[in-house]
């Protein structure tokens, strides 16, 4: 098991490196002028040159990449007109537009995104699995049809429309803003409620469909009939035997969904004005803020490979048949 995790981590690491190199190349080839952005409108050629050399932008692409990679591992020194500023490892550079270390910006944004996504996940998993399970149990009845119909309708509304609708109409909800959990858990929760609701509603529809389909399949299995023939309660048959088997495929989808949401909560964050990773990268994109964009890509890549690994490890606990050694 440990060897397996090590092997997976190694391949995960190579995926992250390849992603970094590829996106670095893409951004480098793009017609952008970061030094100009930093320099501002009243720029002189001398000053522009200074900025370029302090950021290493006058170096060849391979050298720049090397400096960037070295920064991540060892840290990096920036020489700004004589004064040396040390950026300690893992250094992802300074934001061109904000002048702050990228790691600091990401460090501030990541808890926001994680809060939004995990809270939303709690909402949609609870509603989705409950609705799906009940619908599967009463399959074919009006209640089932209503559930399926509702999920179809909700599913066909684009995600950002739901977000806008919640922002416009759910005015009874507390004002949407981010407070760190450790400062005030209550304010943290109330401030994120609208975002959780949006994420919850859209995904609950999808998850109730996954859960329903998975549950119908599971309830039709021979082992459920066996369980029933033992003389245990119907609730135990459905929830211990049926749901237990139905949740494994849902857990797999959830792991990947979680990773995607952690890297792509742009709509939720920008509509509700929550300063998470999505909003940070979106703003950086508008300003050719290369270091911040690279930081966003790095976080995304790491989150994806780590979540993939987590799903696979969790799976071995869920299904004894794939348990390793």
């Amino acid at each position: 098991m440990l060897l397996y995790i090590l092997r997976r981590l190694l391949s995960a690491f190579s995926v992250v490196v390849v992603t970094l190199v590829a996106s670095f190349a893409l951004f480098f080839l793009a017609p952008s002028d970061p030094a100009g952005v930093i320099c501002g409108p009243k720029c002189t050629p001398d000053r522009l040159h200074d900025i370029e050399s302090s950021l290493g932008l006058d170096q060849p692409a391979a050298k720049q990449l090397g400096l960037y990679m070295k920064g991540i591992v060892l840290g990096r020194d920036y020489d700004q007109g004589g004064t040396v500023q040390h950026c300690s490892a893992p250094c992802l550079g300074y934001s061109y537009s904000l002048g702050q270390p990228v790691t600091k910006l990401l460090g501030a944004a990541l808890p926001v995104t994680i809060s939004i996504v995990l809270g939303g996940a709690l909402v949609y998993l609870t509603i989705g699995i409950l609705a799906g399970t009940i619908a599967a149990q009463v399959r074919g009845t009006p209640l089932d049809r209503i559930t399926v119909g509702t999920t179809m309708v909700v599913n066909s509304i684009p995600y950002f429309v739901v977000a806008v609708l919640v922002a416009l109409y759910a005015t009874f909800l507390p004002h949407s803003e981010y407070h760190p959990f450790l400062d005030n858990p209550l304010l943290w929760a109330t401030g994120l409620l609208s975002a959780w609701l949006t994420l919850g509603i859209t995904n609950a529809a999808a998850y109730s469909r996954y859960a329903r389909a998975s549950m119908i399949e599971s309830l039709g299995q021979d082992f459920v009939r066996t369980a029933r023939s033992k003389g245990i309660s119907e609730r135990r048959v459905v929830y211990r035997h049926g749901l237990r088997a139905a949740l494994t495929p849902v857990a797999t989808i959830f792991g990947i969904d979680l990773a995607i949401q952690l890297t792509g909560a742009i709509f939720t964050e920008s509509i509700f004005g929550l300063p998470g990773i999505g909003l940070l990268t979106l703003r950086a994109f508008g300003k050719y803020d290369l270091p911040v964009l690279m930081g966003g890509v790095l976080v995304g890549a790491v989150v994806l490979v780590v979540m993939n690994l987590v799903v696979d490890i969790v799976y071995t606990f869920l299904d004894p048949r794939v348990r390793l050694g």
Binding site: D222, T226, S229, K230, G231, I232, D319, P320
Partner: protein, 362 residues
């Protein structure tokens, strides 16, 4: 696999065959009807089935897919969903009426009054729970005991069904068992609450032949030890000859022949049973073409009037008039032996069997 010595099926001592024959019936099925309303009409899966079975005796229910053998046995366990199945008639197990029982009563009954083992032990055991866990769950559903005691009971049961090293094996998952061991574990689970009736729904179909023989032996042995009645559902007449005391042949939801195994297999009276015997390939002697039953079984949405078998019956011309097409024959004794019944209009079934069918049999 360190299974015990493999006994040849022929050497099983069939002492049960005469035992219990005249005792009080433990299972009594009377005019059982199971119907499923569907969008296409009413599926009449079982149409007035009656039989009885005393303790220590084995009844084999034989028939092809869709003949109603499994559906009728599921009804005995009360396993049909009352929302989708309409059940009428009477099923008494140990004197208790099963038809119309509430879910709570059925829960108490299942596993204790009657137990069931299924065709494919691979899919019938839950893949995510250990063997021991699943047996313990059965036991604790009906006994208020600690986990430790239930586990001791599970280990004891696994030992009794011939699982080597049960103390260690009890913590294994089903996928760590071989097919034969899984079916043994299923049997242990079914018998953990000492039910007096065991329903085995094609328990050896998914197993290879050697393991089949072992499982049949095991069921016979356990039946002797537990003194229970066994309903054995199968389509394998070889298995029937091996394990059963009585046979009930079903066709399109009806019992068409019922009686002691040697009589029914030795000189059957119904053309369908003849067809079944003629469809068994001979394993020795000159290879001969099989004589299959023409046509295919009727849809249970529209069972033919009269005798359900008449469209496929090659002997219907020998019955005077339109009787086969218009009148459903009763399941009654058609010879001097009152214990042997068939559902056919043919006048001299024994004579027809001797002259027309017997020469074709291998």
């Amino acid at each position: 696999m360190s299974e015990q010595t493999v006994r040849a099926p022929q050497t099983v001592i069939r002492t049960a065959r005469t035992r219990g024959a005249n005792e009080e019936p433990y299972l009594e099925v009377d005019d059982l009807q199971v119907q499923f309303p569907t969008a296409d009409g009413m599926v009449r899966a079982v149409q007035g089935l009656s039989y009885s079975l005393p303790l220590r005796r084995t009844l084999a229910i034989v028939g092809e897919s869709g003949s109603g053998k499994s559906v009728s046995s599921m009804a005995v366990m009360g396993l049909h969903d009352t929302k989708t199945a309409r059940i009428s008639g009477s099923i008494k197990v140990g004197g208790t009426q099963i038809v119309g029982m509430s879910q709570q009563e059925l829960q108490k009954f299942r596993g204790v009054g009657a137990s069931m083992i299924f065709q494919d032990p691979q899919s019938s055991l839950h893949p995510y729970f250990t063997i021991g866990d699943q047996i313990m769950e059965s036991y604790r559903a009906h006994h208020n005991v600690t986990k430790r005691k239930a586990k001791a009971r599970a280990i004891d049961m696994l030992g009794r069904v011939g699982i080597p090293n049960p103390t260690r094996r009890v913590d294994n998952y089903p996928h760590e068992f071989s097919g034969g061991m899984r079916q043994r574990a299923m049997i242990a689970m079914a018998l953990v609450n000492d039910p007096k009736l065991l329903i085995a729904d094609e328990p050896t179909t998914a197993l290879d032949v050697t393991v089949q023989a072992q499982i049949l032996d095991l069921i016979s042995d356990l039946q002797r030890d537990f003194g229970s009645a066994v309903v054995f559902i199968t389509h394998d007449l070889g298995v029937v000859a091996e394990i059963a005391d009585d046979i009930l042949v079903m066709y399109a939801g009806n019992a068409i022949e019922h009686g002691p195994v040697d009589k029914i297999l030795g000189s059957p009276q119904h053309p369908y049973t003849w067809g079944l015997l003629e469809s068994i390939p001979a394993l020795s002697g000159e290879p001969q073409p099989l004589h299959p039953i023409p046509g295919s079984p009727p849809s249970l949405l529209a069972v033919p009037n009269g005798c359900a078998f008449h469209p496929r019956c090659e002997y219907r011309e020998r019955v005077s008039g339109d009787l086969c097409r218009t009148l459903k024959p009763d399941l009654v004794s058609r010879s001097a032996d009152p214990g042997r019944k068939s559902r056919c209009h043919l006048k001299e079934p024994d004579a027809v069997f001797r002259t027309d069918v017997l020469p074709r049999l291998p």
